[in-house]
């Protein structure tokens, strides 16, 4: 067992898969220039030493090309892992992801596979509105993409390895405050969920959530940073006699509805916590789906705690207000218990 940060765990996943399959390669801006950063959050740092600059391919600042090249390479026998420095720049490559990557298999009548991975850091970190967005809700809305969001080092490695072996485009949302990036690239106010990662190989299947904390009264579904905020909230609530069960879905497409249903059969109350802005965030879909298939298990409204519907403001006091805090989650839970 090694203790790894998420950045390290992702790096190890890439390294192992690149060793196993010579068709796997990485591309993106500044991913491993000699003397550089190893990507904005150090995930690919040092990989070019082992694999060379051909397989750890630093690109021009050309997001359309990065995504399109990943599609073309994937369609013709390669397995690209593409990096977008900040998730916000996904919008620049949206056409290639939505119109090409997601549709090629279908449009070809099933003849073509597109085994590509698109890695995107998300989350608000006082960089202002164009470097802060959580974009899951946009991508869960594109049929043909799989969407994953690891929140621990163990999951990061196991899920990324599964993503690399998947024959379909997979978008990986990684949270800036969870990487545990070190040195120059360390983030203020970051958590550092260093975790145990087995030495032997393992894969984590898509569509299997995990219960991060067991509880009786309320089910919380949360991803990425919000898992940790919810855990904090659960501590607060515990003291007030409210017992919270926390589910981390780990993958949004496919989504583990069974696990949520099992939980609300017990708790009959559901809160979804997301950093995505509220209107049509990924949580909207979960709420809608549960309002359809889980309606009779519920005793109370389905509550969403999400970032408010605003661009992310720069000032920390405002940013902290916009993004769900443990206190806000706890308040929502208390209110829900009364309703």
């Amino acid at each position: 067992m090694a203790k790894l940060s998420i950045a390290e765990a992702l790096r190890e996943a890439i390294r192992e898969e690149m060793r196993l399959n010579e068709r796997v390669f990485c591309l993106g801006e500044d991913i491993d220039v000699d003397g550089g950063f190893g990507g904005a959050f150090t995930v690919t740092l040092g990989l070019s030493k082992e694999f060379g600059h051909e397989r750890i391919l630093d690109t021009p600042i050309s997001e359309i090309m990065i995504a399109g090249a990943a599609v073309g390479a994937a369609m013709t026998g390669m397995v690209p892992i593409a990096d977008v420095q900040y998730g916000d720049f996904l919008f620049c490559m949206m056409d290639q992801l939505a119109n090409n990557a997601a549709k090629m298999t279908y449009m070809s009548g099933g003849a073509i596979k597109v085994p590509m991975v698109m890695r995107a850091p998300v989350g608000a970190t006082t960089r202002g509105a164009q470097h802060a967005q959580s974009l899951e809700g946009f991508f869960t809305h594109i049929p043909g993409l799989k969407i994953i969001c690891p929140s621990t080092a163990y999951d990061a490695k196991g899920l990324l390895k599964t993503a690399i072996r998947d024959n379909n485009p997979v978008v990986v949302f990684e949270h800036k405050l969870l990487y545990g990036s070190k040195g120059n690239r360390a983030e203020k106010s970051a958590l550092s969920p260093v975790g145990e990662v087995p030495d032997e190989e393992y894969l984590i299947p898509f569509g299997k959530g995990v219960v991060r904390r067991e509880g009786r009264d309320i089910t919380i579904v949360a991803n990425l940073l919000m898992v940790y905020r919810s855990l904090e909230a659960a501590e607060i609530l515990e003291n007030e006699g409210i017992s919270v069960e926390i589910i981390d879905p780990r993958t949004l497409v496919p989504f583990d509805y069974d696990l949520v249903i099992e939980s609300i059969k017990k708790t009959s109350r559901l809160i979804i916590v997301e950093e995505d802005t509220r209107t049509n965030g990924w949580g909207a879909e979960i709420a809608a789906q549960i309002a359809e298939i889980g309606f009779y298990y519920l005793d109370a409204p389905i509550v969403r705690v999400a970032s408010y519907d605003v661009p992310i403001p720069f000032a920390p006091v405002m940013e902290n207000f916009v993004v769900p805090s443990a206190a806000r989650i706890a308040d929502a839970a208390k209110k829900l218990m009364k309703s």
Binding site: M65, G72, S108, G109, A111
Partner: protein, 319 residues
């Protein structure tokens, strides 16, 4: 360059096939027996055939919203293309793609990409793949004149150039992007001149003369196979019909139209064959008949093929 008899006749036959495939579809559209929409390539046959004739099925091609000529020249089966037009399950995309996404990866024809210039970054990826897998395969990437103003054009040209990829960008400049004349949207004379901004060779070619196209193709292919990098070819050509179904081309200058319609690539090729004694009128006649029969057969095949089951729509979202 001199073409052998066999090659020139074969190229002519392909061009004749493309022309008559498109015309047949045009008339079936008018009859109303075909779903969807069409963007046809009559007049641009020499571009497709000249560029693709010498490729193997391990070489790749990316196409556009106007893919029929490219696909036929790349070797997608006539029957499967016709069946796709009829939205049948025997279609090259099983009825899921349609006209604008025609293709068959088994012969190196990627499903056409109908987003203007959207195939260019994909072609960069295919080029990367050919290079990284250490093959000597190449990819021919078709685009229109209008596509040369898309951001995707720029990013793709640059990347192919800096990485020395085996990509041949083929811009069929038919003077129009939909209803918009190229002179309204670009200030320079030749789109090929843009290649210089990427350190890539660019060349203007008569796109209605299949031999000239093939000659330029040959040079670009050799360059690409030898790892010397990409080439940009601008083929000056014209579409003989509208941009899409039901377009009477009210935006075109009649003088321009007349001038260009006289430069029919099929006639130019046929005349060359006859003048150089590379084939007789009878030989040409007979191969034309053969082609027309194959088209009729394809229509029969398509019509008699089964439609997909409605629920089939739910399959193939993931591989």
């Amino acid at each position: 360059m001199k073409a052998t008899k066999e090659k020139i006749l074969s190229m002519y036959k392909q061009m004749f096939l493309i022309r008559n495939y498109e015309d047949k579809i045009y008339f079936m559209f008018l009859e109303g027996i075909m779903p969807g929409t069409i963007h046809q390539c009559q007049g641009q046959e020499a571009c497709a055939v000249g560029m693709l004739f010498d490729l193997s099925k391990d070489d790749y091609m990316t196409s556009t919203h106007r893919p029929a000529g490219h696909c036929l020249a790349k070797g997608v089966s006539l029957d499967s293309m016709m069946a796709e037009m009829f939205a049948k399950s025997t279609g090259c995309c099983k009825g899921k793609g349609g006209a604008m996404h025609t293709g068959d990866i088994s012969v190196g024809a990627l499903p056409a990409i109908a987003i203007t210039a959207g195939g260019m970054p994909v072609a960069v990826g295919v080029g990367l793949s050919c290079k990284m897998r250490k093959t000597d395969n190449v990819v021919v990437c078709f685009l229109g004149d209008g596509a040369s103003n898309e951001g995707a054009f720029h990013e793709s040209m640059n990347a192919a150039s800096i990485w020395n990829l085996p990509v041949i960008f083929v811009c069929e400049n038919n003077l129009y992007g939909a209803s918009t004349h190229i002179t309204q949207v670009i200030k320079i004379e030749n789109i090929a001149d843009r290649a210089a901004g990427y350190g890539m060779p660019g060349e203007v070619v008569d796109g209605n003369d299949v031999l000239k196209v093939n000659d330029a193709a040959t040079r670009a292919i050799v360059r690409a196979r030898n790892g010397e990098g990409p080439t940009f070819l601008e083929l000056k050509t014209y579409r003989r019909r509208g941009h899409s179904r039901n377009d009477s081309c009210g935006y075109r200058d009649k003088g321009e139209e007349k001038e260009w319609l006289e430069k029919d690539p099929l006639t130019i090729c046929k005349n060359y064959i006859l003048k150089n004694n590379l084939g007789t009128v009878e030989e040409i006649d007979s191969l034309e008949k053969e082609v027309l029969k194959s088209i009729e057969a394809a229509v029969e095949y398509a019509k008699s093929s089964p439609s997909p089951a409605p629920e089939e729509a739910l399959n193939n979202v993931f591989y």
